[in-house]
Point group: C2
Chain length 120, copies 2
DNA sequence: GCAAGTAGTTACCTAAAGGTAAGTAATGAG
DNA sequence: CTCATTACTTACCTTTAGGTAACTACTTGC
């Protein structure tokens, strides 16, 4: 598994490697809408994520240059995250994906409303 | 881990659950461009994927209604995969993502060409 | 009658991802 | 003097995903 970044045949693989992963696109989507969120705020918006994993995701996104970490050494530390210019470039893609998601969600709700007549 | 599809708070999570995963978006992207591919052809375009995992991804995409499986019981069986109408709705999103990917790829290549003068 | 070829399936095993829980720093509140 | 707070980090342990390899079916070619 140490030979995966070599065959960067197409850029698609590269970008997927950066934004894929369990909660990663969702974090980007949150930051894409709220423009700046603190660690705890992100955690609160993603029920079920652990601090360990969230930290890991944020570090990786930061390393990829997609998000910016703003650490303020106040008494209880204040850490805010926001998209970088590069990260912001994903906004339209994420928005497009969200539109599809919303559409499918509505379609599926309609079908559910018909209580499985579609079994025919 | 059997309590993850319940909190379908926002559709984004739902769609991410369907198209996320190691090679999934890439498979969709391939089918989005080639309109129909056989099992072996997909495998050949994704170096490093095993038959087991590819089968798994294809089954899940089929279960989500994003791809269509066309099995022809010829002597050596011929199985083709293509996007369903719903799967095709992802095309513009994937294309948008690819555009960003290509752009970043070019930017990164430029920077590499400058051999780290950007340290300033 | 045995190998080849497609598209898997299955069993088994290992590596990595993720969860939980506890610890940390610094300070203000009680 | 101790607790609470924020944003982690670390250790430990379990679960899961994924890899590898072998096996299947069915017919053709040799």
């Amino acid at each position: 598994m140490a030979a995966k970044e070599d065959h960067t045949q197409c850029p698609m693989e590269s970008i997927l490697g950066q934004i894929m992963g369990p909660w990663t696109p969702y974090i980007l989507w949150l930051l894409s809408n709220e423009n700046s969120l603190r660690f705890g705020e992100i955690a609160a918006r993603i029920p079920g994520i652990s601090a360990k994993v969230l930290t890991d995701r944020l570090r990786k996104l930061e390393a990829s240059g997609l998000i910016h970490r703003d650490y303020k050494p106040t008494v209880p530390p204040t850490v805010s995250y926001s998209l970088t210019a590069r990260g912001a470039e994903l906004h339209s893609v994420l928005q497009g994906l969200n539109e599809v998601a919303v559409r499918w969600d509505e379609e599926d709700k309609e079908k559910e409303g018909k209580t499985e007549i579609a079994a025919e």
